[in-house]
């Protein structure tokens, strides 16, 4: 059962990897390059099943993006997973405070990614 998943990451490499792993598992993948772009894309795409976002991005970073989504967009209740190489508790806490549902530590393998999605989306 495929979900519609938005990935937000400024790295083309990471976007490609996410697309490969997610569409391989039967999900529909929508992609954005940074927080601002992510907001624009969500406005067009409507409610998605899961959002996966990077933290360090130009224009609007992951924290800003999550806050924006949680602050009252159509995706206010959409699970958001934060994708980052930074595993320090401080960064996770900050993402959580912004409203992140969970996180995935890079480098990830597809199984890890899909398990995290399963944990936040039916």
């Amino acid at each position: 059962m495929g979900k519609t998943i938005l990935t937000v990451d400024d790295s083309r490499t990471m976007r490609d990897m996410l697309r490969l792993a997610l569409s391989g598992a039967g999900h529909t993948v929508i992609q954005a390059d940074d927080g601002v772009h992510g907001v624009e894309v969500l406005e067009k795409a409507g409610v998605v099943d899961v959002i996966i976002t990077d933290i360090n991005m130009p224009r609007m970073d992951g924290y800003g993006f999550i806050e924006h989504v949680r602050r009252g967009s159509a995706n206010k209740m959409t699970p958001i997973l934060v994708l980052t190489t930074e595993s320090e508790p401080a960064k996770k806490m900050r993402a959580r405070d912004a409203g992140a549902t969970g996180w995935i530590v890079k480098p990830f393998d597809p199984e890890k990614l899909l398990a995290a999605i399963r944990r936040v989306s039916p």
Binding site: T13, V47, K106
Partner: protein
Amino acid sequence: MDPMEAIKQTYFQECDELLLAMEEGLIAMESGEADSETINAVFRAVHSIKGGGGAFGFEILVGFSHVFETAMDLVRSGKLDPTPDVVKVLLRAGDKLSDHVTAARNGGSDAVDDAEVKAELAKLTGEDPEDAGAPAPADFEGLAFAPVMIDIGDEEPAAPPCPIWHVRFAPHAGLYAKANEPYLLIRELGMLGPIEVTADLSKLPDLSALEPDQAYFAWNVALKDCPDRTKVEEVFEFVSGDCDLEITEEKVEAAAPAAFAISAPGLPSLDDDDEPAAAPVAEAQPEEKKAAAPAAAQAAPTTVDLIKQTIRVDLDKVDRLVNLVGELVITQAMLSQRILDSVQQGQTVSAGLGELEHLLRELQEAVMAIRTQPVKSVFQRMPRLVRETAAQTGKEVRLEIEGETTEVDKTVIERLGEPLTHMIRNAVDHGLETPAERVAAGKPAEGTVKLSAEHRGGRIIIEVADDGRGINRSKVREKAIERGLISPNANLSDEEIDNLIFLPGFSTAATVSNISGRGVGLDVVRRNIMDLGGRITIGSANGKGSKFSLTLPLTLAVLDGMIVAVGEQTFVLPLSHIIESLLPKSADVKAFGSNGMLLNVRGVYVPLVSVGRLLRVPGAKYDLANSVVILVESEGVGRMALAVDAIVGQRQVVIKSFESNIGHIDGIAAATILGDGRVALILDIDGLVAGCREGTGGRPTEYQQALGA
């Protein structure tokens, strides 16, 4: 292609872009112009290189970028002041990172010696360089997650008896606000082993007092057959802090386990409501049911690739477009010639043709523009080059770059790197003095090299200027005489002396250094530039510096040419090699040697060659005195005069290579197609000159003649 292999390609492409962005940012930091976004961009570049590198298992690359990233993170967060010394270390780290990427791209065979830079970075961050040097720091492997987050259905029957885990789980409102979902967590628990779930609804208030965004439920879950407490804890990893969680262990005797009934007694059936408090449903086989969201999501198109501002186009496709438009231009020219030939009263026709011509020219320009790129990609390699050359030669150098957004054809850009590298090295190595010499001469110890690009008259002008000592003309002259390149009594202008350094084998350095030396001289630079249809000159002021000026065509697909007639054929001479055309008097033509000819051009004797005779053109006249003479400049021999029957005109022609079909022919660079549909050959001046050299004797004499002995 294997999808991962394709992504790896993307990764390296992206690395190139990131490395450029990083260097650009670091240079801005060096000059003190960096704002926080610039510093952030540098951090992100290093961070992204590390992130992708981790995915492909480039451990050494990841190890180094981690140290670098840590330092950048300190700068970014204001904990480390980007003083000039700090930025110097960061710049060197940038160079090393670039080396690491190259090494990873080449399969990691060439080891990069980064110990020194790493130690300096560690000094900045206060990290232990040994720790920092570890290829895979602890926080990459297994920190937040155990290698496998959840074992699905991994029910090991044997082993010691598992305890029963009693989990009391009471979400706070914040858990729902972050879109976490108790039902999913309980489902996860169910994947660890058989569970028995009871909902605790005791906190549920009266409907009138119910706040939709508050949390009222709690659950007690008993989990069997899960040996590992951490697995249970992991399930709640995302929500710790947003719930009350108690996990207690009940030891079980090895005896047969009791069957677990799973039920959710007393849970109100409110699962269609999308209020968070109402969502949880725990069942043995959870129904696959989406929350309210998907309906809307499915209404949206399934593939939503939105808002792309750039496209990546296969160069072959663009080339095909360029060729097609070129042909269109030819067809148009052919058409107009035929119509004008056959229709006398072609007034209206010719007006229409004029418009077509105008349109086509515009189309051609637009298509060519697809291929153009800013020179930035080449210019950006220069700061590192300057740093390294400065370090090798013990000089202090500041590089100023201007006009890096100037656009030029991709092929030109690709072939610009080598000559530019050489000129920059030359400027630092030979042009600039040592700091001590500079101070003695009353100049600042730090020398300046300025690299600039601009469009001028349909060509691109690139200049490399230094504020060094300038060309020592008497030394150059001495050397040229010593090498037999000019005669001792040759009367040369300053400009002519300066340009002697482009002659083959000329080197002004007292000792050939391994910086600019390397077995190739400026003659090679000049050859490269002329191969691109460009010219290079040097200007110099004693004690004040030198300046190389390079003019290049904006594209290699077309050429500005002079169309000439020889016998039955038409040839094209590249305008970049032409100095002037003249109608010589027969008294100016002198026989020389066995069958050579010299032409007196205002007192200077220049070898005179008949193109018709040289190329054995059918129907060519050999009457040199009545020919039109075109004075050309060749890199090898200097000036020479080419005799042709007539000049037809000047035109931009589309270059058509035929080498793939017939191989290289001396004296012919390529072909083009003229307005009448016939093929005309584009002459290769250097090749022509080389071809007739055999007939007219030794080089030195020719140099002397050419340069005005």
